[in-house]
Amino acid sequence: MFESLADKVLDLTGEVAYIIPQAIIIVAALLAPLLYFLTKNGKIPAIVSFILAVGAACVCLGYMHTKTYGTAFGLFEFNAFSGLMMCLFLAVAGLTIFVSPVHSETTKHQGEYYALIMAATAGMMFAVASNSLIGIFVSVELVSITSYATVALKKNDPRASEAAVKYLLIGAFSTALTLYGMSMIYGALGTITLSELGYRFSEVGVNWVVLMGSVALIAGYGFKIAAVPFHSWAPDVYEGASTPVSGFLATASKKMGFAVLFKIFFALFIFAQAIQYQPIQYIFAIIAAITMTVGNMVAISQTNIKRMLAYSSIAQAGYIAIALAVMSQYAVTGAIFHMFTHVVMKGGAFVIVAALITAGLGENISDYKGLAKRAPLVAAAMMLCLFSLAGIPPLAGFTSKFVLFSSAIYVNGEVVTEWLWLILIAVLNSAMSLYYYARVVKTMYIEEGESTEKLVISKVFMVAIALCVIGIIVLGVYPQPLLRLCRTAAIALLGF
């Protein structure tokens, strides 16, 4: 049934079919402000955006199910990888929009808010689908510019304006670096099409200009993934932005950065399988090791929960960066899988923080004293999210970390010792991370709070939290279906 439906869509629309998911989201971005100005009710654009996001995700899943893969206008490719990543972005966008109407920090500018979130999502979807450097650049800029604005939208808080300005300045700096790097690569290789980069690179050979261009790209997109030392904006921004936006940036925007890095660097160094250039792998390995270590270490001394979560997501970025170092199918599978588990656990944690802020609780960890008595279900959910982030089995975080870490032992079906040191650092790091997660759990469950009054949590939040918790448990206990999708995506990305 799905097959015939997909055929019909293809017959009707031709190659436009491959950008229908993005088109739906753009429609949502345009509709949201219109609906808001017509109705003056913030819930309407939220509901419409949410429905369209779910619809777009269904289209993606339908295409993936029927293997309707292809390229629109020679620019935007829908394949197993971009389809799966689109689902991830739409899931995050859906979660963000779902909780925004009931969240107290959400601004008066509701129409623009949903339009910006939707536009950013569309940008991410275009970025993972692009098959040229310029396509990627423009899409990522769409995401960046809308993100600056969403951070600034929380106008009643000076921290937000500050964060937005910083975000903008560092972002502009990174954009300049990115563009500079791309122009160097174009200058050296004479192409901007990803699929040709590798072949041209093998013809030209390793040269100085390509490497400098790569460095500039690592720095430019390292900003997006918040890799050390390009991470310093992240804690300020996550703290300053309204909490659903922080969650959106930490889970979706960061994943887009990874997807783009995967696309560009695998195209350069792996896709043609012509050049195996070791130093670039070591550079990524060092960045991964430093990123996870700095993220975890600094997280220990944080007192603001959002800042702590920010550093913890820097650390998580370090884990995912292992795949950039190892550059194997298994590692990429693990990385994509970890992105998904990160969405449910980190997204879940941010949603819980948002719910508690709405219920009148502060952002400091010490405000969570005695939470287990005031809101037992939320405290239990928070505990699961944090323990999953720390990698305690049988939760999702453990399973994905195990796949990711063990990938560094098996490279292309062979056992290697090369990355054993990286895994040991990663395992030590994830042990260290338990310290600050357990501290929050201890505060919630063990310390006595000043108030024992029950907190009223909106049903909408409870549904969102429940979805995340179900995700954490299901992905931990029965990861196989998603893992298979991730593997297909990794094959589509790497070409083998």
């Binding site: 700095v294 195990f402 870490f405 032992i409 098996y410 201890k442």
Partner: protein, 673 residues
Amino acid sequence: MELYEFAWLVPLIPCICFVLAGFIGHKTPQCGGLIAIAGAAAAFVMAALVSYGYYTSDLYKAAEPFVQNMDWLVVGKITIQFGIYIDTLSCIMMLFASFISTLIFIYSLGYMHDQEGRRRRYFAEVSLFLTGMLGLAVSSNYLEMFVFWEIMGLCSYLLIGFWSFNHEEAVEKSSAAKKAFLVTRLGDVCLMCGLFILLYIFGSLDYQNIFGSIEAHKDDVLLPFAILLMFGGVIGKSAQFPLHDWLPDAMAGPTTVSALIHAATMVKAGIYLVARSYPIFTQCEEAMVFVAAIGGFTAIYAASMALNNMNIKRVLAYSTLSQLGYMVLALGAGAYLISLGTKNGDANLIKLGTAGYIAGILHMINHAFFKALLFLGSGSVIHAVGTEDMRMMGGLRKKMPITAYTMLIGCFSIAGIPIFSGFWSKDLVLEAAFAPFHEGLGFGSVFCVLFVLGMITAFMTAFYMFRMWFMTFTGEPRGHCHGESPKTMTFPLLILSVFAILSGLVIMGNFGYYVARSLKTSMPTAGIFVEKGMDVVKEIFTTPATYVALVLAIVGIAIAFFMYSKKAYDPEKFDQDKKPLYYRIVAKRYYFPEMYNQISWKLGYGVAKGVEAIDKQLIDGTVNGLSNAVVGGGDGLARVETGYVRDYAAYVALGVLILMGIFAVIFIYGGGF
């Protein structure tokens, strides 16, 4: 369908009870208590059926395990499975864990009756705890085992911190929970690293695959590291020196939880891991000397701390540490003997090593019974007098006779008085420790020292256990007492005391042979144990060491009797201002807790602060010029509360420069790409 094919039900039943008790517990009688008891009892029945099915099957006769797997994680060429692995060892683990847990849960009905609504949380968590242990026992690969291992760690964290609400010592209690969690986690990290190395060596974590291909990989350079790291996990979980310190602090939880942790679950997991990994451990005899030495040292070290402690639960906690040391000592010595025996093709050594293995397992079972008995007995005492300080007790024998005499049985058992269960296994343990010296093998002197330490420990054990008993139950009453505990609490005590007397007698049957079968299933070359039960008994009674140990135990009891019951020598003399140095050191637990605090706080937090400082400020002083050059124009906007934008930009610039520098170095010096 054979009975043993339903082994997956054994951990599943308590897991279902966990969900039921957690969600609808407050609507059921006893706040979920009956659900938890029914679950544990059903798990025990199931375990018994599975064991019976396996015992009567052809698999048992052929010394093969029953394995059933389904795929859990499949990525490329790696498949991690989720399944069950049934052999004699897993049957034994399931049986005693579920049986003792059932009794402890019944006891909890009485012990926790005043906790009202919070019992729901308690019964849900203990059910999950039991799930962890039973799952660990039936797991078919190391990763699955690790999953259950961690579930237990998590439950222990929650249960040790159970009193943390509304309790006068809440802060202390909660930090005990955190300590237990973090210290055992340190072991878990070692274990995880060890498992990664195993995965690297064998390409699989499946027991059957690893045990089957051990011959091909036995010379791998990394194997000793894997063994030591795995043993690191055991040190954490089974509280061996130097990660022992969480166990005494874990006394902060309800006494029933202590009984569960010490007797039926948690700490036994580490012993189980050593026993299960025998095929791997026996590949490296030097590491086994280390294992045995850690065990022997922990035994005497922990016993010394029990000598002067005034807290009834802590005395028992130290005795657990000490007894766990015995088990590790026996298993380490056994593995050492088997290792040398296989290398030299000496069947006698393998036989002696197998005896060490059996001694470790038997001591684990016996310890489970008498320690559960002692803990539940102490819980009954605490319930009646409302304090854990033994100086406030005394003369309770008349007021609570059942508790007093069942605990006396426990004391006899742990002290190693003949007929009582502890006697048999302790003797086998010491014999195993002595064997390498007796056979004149390398490191013989080490084992001789360990044997002597074991002997001294036997003396100390008898002394401090009876010191506890005499202080609590004899002499003048020193405080208020409610009288004997309710039947739900005394009934489990009576059952356990029967086992504390009789469980050692299994050695007269063919117990040794059954256990050795499990070794044979994983190591076809080892596991030869042909002696009949009565021969073992005869051997025990013809060895001089048996009588030496017995005399030492009796002397220990006698000293305790004269000091604490007859007051012939006043122990209060130690309590004066001029305490001997040794007394003070022991009372401070050899300054270990303080060292931990210093390390974890001063170092850990200091490093964290330092990194943050570098992260925030270092660049400020050093690269201001650079940052001005890069984003000099942004000054007006850049001044902010949480940090300088220009510093952030300087980071980026510095990062780029460093990366370029790395490439430049490679480009210029590496030359080749």
